[in-house]
Subunit: 665 residues, 2 copies
């Protein structure tokens, strides 16, 4: 026994100890390791993941039935079926390129690519097959029962964000876009010692007055639970040189060192001296104003954290939980994880499948009070995007007809590790938002943004319900030509929402590289040698297309309906800008309408027609939210406008970006 | 495309499908694998674990200070300190056998074995050390600041039960009793296929009209999350023979087979035929009355479950969660796991450390409403038993003086995987309860019993608060000699608790093998050549000892206090039967008092003095609880009395065991 007795320095509160630590410690950038997606459950993404493919990659049948040219079926009914010639059959996974004309059909399976020339699928229920022909009992419209290429996920779309915890859902999503290996954050390596001459390793030889080491294995398991990679290095004797050498060696490989025992002021206290002698700054905190935290120690040597825990197992585990676990969790980018089920409320009235129990996929957001809102997925169950957004599902019993607005629901989560996002955007989707979120996260690694794409009209409605932090909108008033502001009154938001200036978007015609058919203006869509691909009704871009066509119709002395009958493909709707671009690139159409950003890929060209205003609607009760302020500050920054210019041609911020266009009463 | 179309059989509800499955399926006994405890986080114990050692294994110092013969310090105070000669120093882990007499002392560290002859430790704060001597400023009583051998965990005590999910706490506990490797249930092996000609493995070559397989990786990760061992075996083509061969081969190694896709009635449906052709009973369920469960399939072939999931990823994952996950969880003996923190209420007023923030270890039980009750640990933070029982801790701020009865608290859990026990016993501990719980679990693998040992008086109090399902009690009324019943009125339980007949316990003198000192009766304790080891005040056994001594005193015309002054070691208290036995075995005393069960080990002998009644107090509102009924039924069974006879000599059930001795008004 040395004559020395270590006198405890001033005890600190837990908060003050953590502050002292973070002031002295600079965490290194987490290094990444590339793993097969099958090994990533519970790990943390090291980088944003963008899709390099469209999903689906082709127009496909959404039902079993017969692929047809929709016009062939017009006028058919139960009494007077239309008879079509069967050219063959197409299974899902069929990679042959088929094509058909009017009066012909291919039998087709759900998920199979529709033959070139076809634009709709008649469900098998409304057909009767003969050897070489099929009778059609109901007409279909162009696009009916067809899932358009890229309608689910667009090429270049941000799919998962850095620091996302990986659950089965994320693994499935990575698989869906063809990613077999992915970069995840390496776990912090944590070296663990127990110290005390009296300790024996469990299973080791035992003799009088010895006790088995409890802390080593228990701390190692706790480190694993909070996302660290534990490495138990054994029991240290109560010997200064032995402890010093062991800790010094451990610091070569480990990111963190934890020892338990031998930190009290009794005989055998030497860990304090060791940590102080290993280098600057040495011991930062010795003793907490907390029962049982008196022997706790925090130090830093060679730039790495060193923790001393009490010797008693219960004390050691408690001090680990309150002092060390938050630090390991932060270094491993693991935030709080979630239970299997959570309670949420429905933001809207939602009708379920009649007379059948239904599992309804939902996405979770939080309202200003921090309560969960379960947002039903809008897209069909076949969509990868509903998979990628769904946090879980609600189990609705057979007898129930609908879920009412504000009704409570239990959500079964798809995986653990649910993180409440910092900022939720619900409305029209734009790559500009993705870019903003990426920049925000570069400034704050804990930032997690979420986008739910429901179009501009959906965005106004969501803000009315008070759900998102912001909504991207681009609606133009037909009469005044003014963007977005007139709709604030129309949706009754004049007392409850701000409108913030976003940026301009160039909209126009998307054509093949070199513009072989010389398509320059809207009137060219009427040409007999030109085929068009349209956008879905209700989207802001479709409203824009129809405004152009209405003007053209007026100029020609006709109306929209009559005019569009002359446009080949007008009835064929794609759901995203990207799907339009893909259709043109793949020769399914000569021209489409969309933002310049998606036309800036090999094989395509852009003919600009409009500058539209893409702004942000923000509920009044979110305007003071920290993440919203930071978002607005970013919109006003040079960094944002510069990054838009580099990464999103066709999107242009200006000096008004981020300023208030409308302030609620 | 084959001309065949599989017509769906009658759709079933999820409940009916599960019932159909469990009626047709017999789960095999889970096989065990032996792992290092460091590899067992999140696994499930395959067998009960009993301690083969006492913890602590020796009498040890509970404080830093000086080991002394307590009598040496009598009469000392600040003005007139007693001066003792220092013989040396004892560190924790010192394995030398020291001994001292009156007037001597050893400097001693917390956790170090006290020298033979010493019976107390004077805290360092009340001493002043000189070179060869120490001044003592306060007297100590025998046993003061000494933790008795086995006072924490007894040899033979049931430590962990089969099917316990292993968290860091269980790993620490196994370590504490020296267990380095332990048997855990092998995870069910789950073979996973995706099927469909159109599917490509993520990262694999991609071409027109193909899609990446989402379900294989997502289902594999979900299997891992619910305790299975997933093995993804690849993508199967839409070919009957290929699918049949693959599933057939998979059934050789796997416990369960899951396939997704190719189960609908469209082209490519063949999984139904494959499962039906692989052997009896084949397909059990095809289609659920559940959106989106129409394509779901359950079958059994070669005694193993086979599941078919829908092809759409969201649908596949939802059907997995509601249909397959509960089955895998049951086969892996994983029950619902828990979040990090839960809300509970305090069952009692509890005073915390004054002026200091405190982390208070608590044990969780549920009340009849299923709400959590957080029971503060009674033993000190050094005890392994407080570690083994504590589910987590409550963080009490500095300003708070106490936790009130019924006050809500947040409990930070020590690990995930918390299981609410089926049956909670709070009161006097007895190996008879452990035996009963073991038998109950043999009949129902999901049974999990929990015992909290607070003595008979603590048991009565806990029942008064309505906490346990049952309390083992053995209190004898001094006047009438009647056991337990008189105390029902004394604790005000005549309207709220049943008393159920348990069994007889033989109590008596525990002496060394061969009884070298010929100790036959209580009067022998007075002999000058005999040293005694006592039990702690408040324990039922201490009450019994003092009853014997009071009678002896009366017979000798003196009182208890005067009589016990003549008994060497009367002031030295051990807390358990086992610690008494260990003290006798290790020559620290010649005789102790306890139940025969602990004396039935090599090196000891038993001299019977009493038959006492060990009964069970059961709160009125628990008497109808399923697990309580089953417990009472067991007490009445032949199996129980036979097993007691074999495994617990000294415990004897009779024909009244399990019957009502007292019924509340």
């Amino acid at each position: 026994m040395s004559g020395e007795r270590k006198v405890f320095r001033e005890l600190q509160s837990l908060e003050s100890a953590a502050l002292t630590f973070w002031q002295a410690y600079t965490a290194p950038e987490p290094s990444a390791e590339r793993l097969s997606i099958n090994e990533t459950l519970g790990r943390v993404l090291a980088a944003d993941v963008f899709s390099e493919i469209d999903v689906p990659g082709f127009d496909r049948a959404a039902m079993d039935g017969f692929a047809v040219v929709a016009e062939s079926t017009f006028g058919s009914d139960d009494r007077i079926p239309v008879k079509l010639k069967i050219l063959g059959e197409v299974e899902a996974g069929n990679t042959n390129a088929h094509s058909i004309s009017r009066g012909e059909a291919f039998e087709i399976a759900t998920g199979a690519p529709i033959p070139k020339g076809s634009d709709a699928v008649v469900m098998v229920e409304y057909t009767k097959r003969h050897a070489d022909s099929v009778e059609i009992y109901r007409p279909v419209t162009p696009g009916e029962n067809v899932t358009g290429a890229g309608s689910d996920i667009m090429t270049g779309e941000l799919i998962l964000r850095k620091y996302q915890v990986i659950t089965p859902r994320e693994i499935g999503l990575l698989a869906a876009i063809g990613i077999g290996k992915v970069d995840v954050c390496r776990k912090p390596r944590v070296a663990i010692f127990s110290s005390g001459d009296e300790l024996v390793e469990p299973g080791g030889p035992f003799s009088f007055a010895r006790i088995f080491d409890t802390n080593g294995p228990a701390v190692a398991a706790s480190v694993a639970e909070c996302g660290g990679d534990p490495n138990f290095l054994g029991i240290l004797p109560d010997d200064y040189n032995a402890v010093k050498n062991a800790v010094d060696t451990a610091l070569n490989d480990a990111d963190i060192v934890i020892s338990s025992g031998s930190t009290s002021s009794g005989p055998g206290d030497l860990f304090y001296r060791v940590v102080d002698d290993l280098g600057e700054p040495g011991v930062l905190v010795h003793g907490l104003t907390l029962k049982p935290g008196k022997p706790a120690l925090i130090g830093i040597a060679r730039g790495k954290p060193i923790f001393g825990l009490p010797g008693y197992p219960t004390s050691a585990l408690m001090i680990f939980h309150v002092l060390v676990a938050p630090i390991i969790r932060r270094l491993s980018n693991m935030l709080e994880s979630s239970p299997d089920k959570i309670h949420a409320t429905s933001p809207m009235k939602f009708f379920k499948a009649r007379g059948r129990r239904e599992l309804l996929p939902v996405e979770l957001i939080t309202n200003p009070k921090g309560e969960f809102i379960a947002y039903p997925m809008q897209s069909g169950s076949g969509a990868i995007s509903s998979f990628s957004l769904a946090d879980g599902f609600v189990d609705l019993p057979e007898g129930q007809e609908y879920v009412d607005e504000g009704e409570g629901v239990e959500v079964q989560l798809f995986g653990r590790g649910l993180l409440p996002p910092s900022l939720v955007a619900i409305g029209s989707h734009c790559v500009g938002i993705d870019i903003a979120f990426t920049l925000l996260r570069a400034g704050d690694p804990s930032f997690l943004g979420r986008t739910i794409n429901v179009g501009s009209v959906g965005g106004f409605r969501a803000v009315k319900r008070g759900e998102p932090d912001l909504a991207g909108v681009h609606l133009q008033d037909e009469e005044t030509g003014q963007y977005n502001i007139p709709f604030i009154t129309r949706y009754g938001l004049e007392r409850s929402a701000f409108l913030i200036r976003g940026y301009d978007r160039e909209q126009g015609l998307i054509v093949k590289r070199g513009n072989p058919k010389k398509i320059q203006k809207v009137a060219d869509l009427l040409r007999v040698d030109v085929s068009f691909i349209n956008r879905n009704k209700g989207s802001g871009t479709r409203l824009l297309i129809d405004r152009h066509l209405t003007q053209l119709a007026a100029a020609q002395g006709t109306d929209l309906e009559n005019l569009t009958m002359k446009i080949q493909g007008y009835g064929y709707e794609s759901k995203t800008h990207s799907a339009v671009a893909t259709a043109v690139k793949n020769d399914r159409a000569d021209v489409g309408f969309g933002i310049r950003t998606v036309a800036e890929t090999p094989g395509l060209e852009f003919v600009k027609l409009d500058d539209e205003k893409y702004d942000f609607l923000i509920p009044k009760d979110r305007i003071e939210k920290k993440s919203v302020s930071v978002f607005l500050e970013l919109l006003r920054s040079q960094e944002f406008s510069r990054t838009l210019k580099q990464r999103a041609p066709g999107l242009t911020a200006d000096r008004l970006s981020g300023t208030v266009l409308f302030r609620p009463a």
